[in-house]
Subunit: 215 residues, 2 copies
């Protein structure tokens, strides 16, 4: 064993770190990815950045503040996962079919992220006190939309193609989001936890079908 081959920063020689804010944020993201929100530990983040614990306070007001920043990054990655799934849909037959497929893609991307990046997913929705995801640049994906906006956009398209009556549009994102999010939780640490991936996917498809039908 050489001494600790953790991603140890090369023992900076300069007094100033140079980009500590980003280093701490990235350490926080790594921690969240590995162990979820409660694995985000200030001292460990500073350790990984090769800096004294207190240095963090020049860049984040508190552990909670760092948590919040990681949370935004997680939401942004969630948006990217959703966009990736949506991108696969393009160039299909009818606009109607495309609209439906896009809505399904939104759900599928959400679930894929939840199951693939569980730690980040949990972090995205870990909030000791209130807060959802109000519009915040840090939480958007590459397309410039955050997860809720992506869902809203898919629903708008559904209305535009005449597949969803306009009077049922308001608040529809909450119906869809509830179902898919709840399902993710059920799988991540609920009764569906031990169920094989294939079965999970098929139930997931039914959840999305239920939304399409019942919305």
């Amino acid at each position: 064993m050489t001494k600790k081959l953790r991603t140890k920063p090369p023992a900076r020689t300069t007094y100033r770190h140079g980009d500590l804010h980003r280093a701490l944020l990235e350490a926080g993201i790594a921690l969240a990815r590995e162990g979820g929100p409660h694995a985000i530990v200030l001292r460990e983040a500073t350790r990984r950045a090769g800096v004294a614990p207190n240095a963090a306070y020049r860049h984040f007001a508190s552990r909670q503040d760092l948590l919040e920043a990681v949370r935004s990054a997680a939401l942004s990655e969630l948006a990217n996962a959703m966009e990736a799934e949506i991108a696969k849909v393009r160039r299909v037959k009818s606009p109607e079919e495309a609209a439906r497929a896009t809505l399904r893609a939104v759900g599928a991307g959400y679930l894929r992220f939840a199951f693939t990046e569980t730690g980040l997913f949990r972090t995205a929705f870990a909030t000791p006190e209130l807060l959802g995801f109000t519009s915040n640049p840090a939480r958007k994906g590459r397309s410039g939309l955050d997860p809720l906006e992506l869902l809203g956009s898919a629903l708008d398209t559904l209305v535009a193609t005449g597949l969803l009556p306009p009077e049922r549009r308001p608040g529809a994102e909450f119906l869809a989001w509830s179902s898919v999010h709840g399902f993710a939780m059920l799988v991540i640490d609920g009764p569906l936890h031990e169920v094989p991936r294939a079965d999970v996917d098929s139930i997931g498809a039914r959840v999305i079908a239920m939304v399409e039908k019942g919305i």
Copy 2:
């Protein structure tokens, strides 16, 4: 100010506490009720029980163990809330209408508990590692059914009255549970947090309607 009028146990004079297990569990439940899962703190529980911190280890293997016990109690109370709502339904017109109303009551009870006993609700589904609610006597309500079983029973009745095709019955509880649970999370600490109760209730009704229709 008299010195701390917290529910201070009357400074027991005996060496033995007498019923420390229950006292700790109840302190844990109180803490969870006030501040959710992470407010369950071993030392605080022992303080409220008027006992040294280590005494807890004679009754719970770890903080996690106490958390787990509180969690079971919370699930049991959730079952009770659901049962209470179901009880209101009895003696309606047709069996079909009764079956539908019962399913809605299951959802309504779930949501009422989530919004009324938020701390306990959060605790019921807080689980650092895996686990859902497998059958466990401590998690049942007065009727002898746990929350998931209550939902399952309502769905069975729906099938019995011919309102739900039997082939769609398997796994249906996961569709219903996903939607209602997700909605609860959305309200408790998601984008719907600031929305007035009346609006929340009306969206909640739509969620339940979606399930009835899309299941």
